[in-house]
Amino acid sequence: MSMNVQTVEAAAVQPDGFGRPLIEVHNLVKHFGPVVALAGVSLTVRAAEVHCLVGDNGAGKSTLIKTLCGVYRPTSGDVVVDGKPVSFASPREALDAGIATVFQDLAMIPLLSITRNFFMGREPVKKIGPLAFIDMAFADKVARSEMRKIGIDVRDPQQAVGTLSGGERQCVAIARAVYFGAKVLILDEPTSALGVAQTSMVLKFVRQVRAKGLGLIFITHNVRHAYAVGDKFTVLNRGRTLGTFTKSEITLDDLQTKMAGDKELQDLSEELGGTV
């Protein structure tokens, strides 16, 4: 799929599959014994859309991710994927339904090669009689070409993933999810541990993935990053969604304020002379 920049913008407007809701969450509630982690989360993610979920630490972001990707079962509320209500018993089921999650730890194993990490759990096989062996040649080729699509030329895909920088690893994880047919990609704090150059690499790649027609849930507490890449913003506070806004409906500062809970950040900002 080779499109130049103008075509990408045009595709977002045309509803050629793009714009349809991929995943809808209605009033998701999750209790852990007496602890209420999620108290009613609702959001909709459409194809070719980056939906940013912003919330401070403790807002319930990681519980939400784990519930959406099949690690936890919701206490109540429903999740609808592509028009059909779903209930995942395991992460594998969520993956099969097209919901891929890139966790903060990336699910990358630093000591293993890029190829092995890329195809972890879904290794391509070639059969010799009754025995199945990994088709390493094919795997290397695909890993290399997928990385090039992100814009990284891996000379030797057998080198350890640990030799890649944090941003590069993040992109490998995303490329992996995309390659294996994710429809919805949940990114958990992808830029929180990255430097400036690497952050821009990841954000650029996020836009590329969006252009392919996937829906992305971009979870972060860094409002600046969210605003740079997002189409829609949902604020999560104390396990509850406080509202969804498009980019045109809200400014960066307002978003920040909403996320922090209006008053407190205002006061802190005044104390620090408006540098927050």
């Binding site: 395991s90 730890d105 759990g121 990994i134």
Partner: protein, 377 residues
Amino acid sequence: MAILPDGAANDTPVVDIIDERLSRQSAWRRFLARPDLGAFAGVVLVFAFFGVTAGGTGMFASDGVLNWLTVTAQLMIIGTGAALLMIGGEFDLSVGSMIGFVGMMIAIPTIYFGVPIGASVILAFVAAMAIGALNGFIIVRTRLPSFIVTLASLYMLRGLTIALSILVTNRTTVSGLKEYSNGSFVAQLFSAKLFPGFFQWLADNGMINKLPNGEPVVSGVPMLILWGLVMAVVGHIVLTKTRVGNWIFASGGDANAARNVGVPVSMIKISLFMVTAFGAAVFAACQVLEFGSAASDRGVLKEFEAIIAAVIGGCLLTGGYGSVIGASLGALIFGVVQMGILFTGAPSDWFQVFLGAMLLTAVLFNSSIRRRVTGER
């Protein structure tokens, strides 16, 4: 790795751009950098050492070679399992006790209950793998460290071996198995000596020594050695060339990450404990059928030797990295050192001091070569 210019991502053909951060490496360095072959340096060092200090002592005559090769093969059998398990992130301390236990499981039914020896061996294997699976299951379910669970197994199996043998036979050594193993295919599978004709030919042509009665000093390759090679080769292929191998690396590297991408981590770990049990059973079967007897103190401390072989061979104690070939080379180093010290005539009181010192040296040498070659230093 180069970052390509904007817009170039999908359009440019795949061209070999030379990244200035990757300098060309000589084939030799790449050879030594493989986890498999880092231990190779240690092997060379050890052979050089004993070549100098024990050259004329018979260590490299045919029966001398058979002597340390036998120790090596035994260690390869259990070392393969230890390496795979360590790469998968766990330890099995019960291997030594399992060796003693399986030995009894083969000897007692055959001698005291009239079970045909082939059936005893098969049942013993089944029992061993079932116990291995139980170990694995407990570890996976309770999330207790495998160290603790298998330590408990170490005691329980050793105790069972002693208790059952005293209960049935009133002794702790059960002998007399040789009469039952004649003509049994299963017994041959573990105790036969291969290629006798070839060795007779070698002796007749003066290439190996003869006994006074004309027979060659070494009458054949023991099945034990074949088992060691087969287990190492199969283990290596499974680890490096199959999906299961990838899952083993993942389970040890980061079990949570692996689970999240759908790797059946629990299944893998339980299977690995069954593999170490299998290795212990092979070791025990070869030993019991070679000596014609089982004893309750067989295999003591062998689990540590297996772990040593794996570590010398480059397996990380923290899991996720290592190689079966490396463990086999580690077994070779251990076997050569253990027997080689005896050939040099060093005073026996100091045997364990020298053994420990040489193993430490081998590990340090391996790891320093690996560091230089991968550029860590």
